[in-house]
């Protein structure tokens, strides 16, 4: 569990995280995943992109896209994808465990007296306060991701179309598949143009 064996290829670009550090960090993430789990992306952006420079904004966006489009729980998927990149299958398992334990423990306790919790005046007041923070938290992750994803005009158009389609109720899986097809076509077209010029 100490220094993971690094093959020459893997050790070159990205700093890798230890299992123990991953577990602690994801336990912490797990305590603050309000807002349907999207704040995990903001937290990872802060810790792993900005502070530790473990991954880039593009990497985080890729993990988010893949995690969001697979079935199951998005944050667990993102946690596994990130953990796997850092430390293989054990890394993935550690990150998912860390992510899941805090809500599991908290909800287990709440279940025992959930009517009291549901009807508590002070809990409701505190939770209303937290609710106001969810959108700012998501936006604070979205802005740097936007900068790294929208590098061309065609990307802007794609993002705007995806936003519109999402609000009209098109499922995320279809959006991601459509994005993949557009990516293939646009890149092929760009290469074709490059060859002719």
């Amino acid at each position: 569990m100490e220094t993971p064996k690094e093959s020459a290829k893997e050790s070159a670009a990205q700093p890798r995280e230890r299992l123990g550090a991953l577990l602690l960090q994801f336990l912490k993430f797990g305590c603050f995943t309000f807002g349907g789990g999207w704040s995990i992306v903001s937290q990872m952006q802060r810790v792993y992109v900005e502070e530790r420079k473990t991954i880039s904004n593009e990497d985080l966006l890729d993990l988010t896209s893949v995690g969001r489009s697979l079935p199951g729980t998005m944050i667990a998927n993102i946690a596994f994808l990130f953990g796997y990149r850092q430390a293989g299958v054990p890394g993935g398992l550690v990150c998912v465990t860390g992510m899941v334990l805090p809500p599991l423990a908290l909800l287990s306790v709440i279940t025992l007296f959930y009517t009291a919790f549901r009807d508590s005046y002070w809990v409701a007041a505190a939770m209303n306060g937290i609710r106001a923070a969810v959108v700012p938290i998501i936006l604070c992750a979205a802005l740097p991701l936007t900068k790294s994803a929208l590098v061309r005009r065609s990307a802007f158009v794609l993002a705007a179309l995806a936003l519109g389609a999402y609000l009209l109720g098109v499922g995320c899986v279809w959006l991601v598949i459509a994005g993949a097809v557009c990516g293939l076509l646009l890149c092929a077209a760009r290469r074709e143009r490059g060859r002719k010029a």
Partner: protein, 182 residues
Amino acid sequence: MIRLLFTLLWSFTKIGFTSFGGLSMIPLISSEMVAHGFMTAAEVSDIVAIAEMTPGPLGLNCATFAGMRTAGLPGALAANLGILLPTLTLTAAAAIFYERFKDSRVMQDVMAGVRPVCVGMIFGVALELCASNYLAEGRVLLPYVILGAADLFLLLKVKLSIPKLIGLNALAGMLLFGVLGM
């Protein structure tokens, strides 16, 4: 007992594999829970409210709630394992595949299209949450908007960490909505 645990596991495995996150899983969870007698319809709507209040996504929180109520902690673990099975199988396979091919040209092209779509989706989620968190019956909830604007400032300019921000908002909520009754 063992049979009950397997029923929980199987039920949440089905929910896990057929849901793609967010509120889209509510009807499915509701029908599974009521069909097995794990929860009543009223309890399902309570747990949706509680899941929104607490950290962790809806699916996991429902699993814990249903598991705890029907079979205690082992039930909660079985139900959580069920809802995590897609992650532990499909996503694990995707992770291996993705890490192997992420530097290939085809994958680079694919991701060049998927990244903007993902950004569009995140803004879509943010807009939806704006509507549910800052508006009620067509009216703008001013205290929430002001608090949200302050949060945005703290995040972007002061670079306050997210756990600290959430703690601060809990206190602000108690003050604004609890003490002042806004």
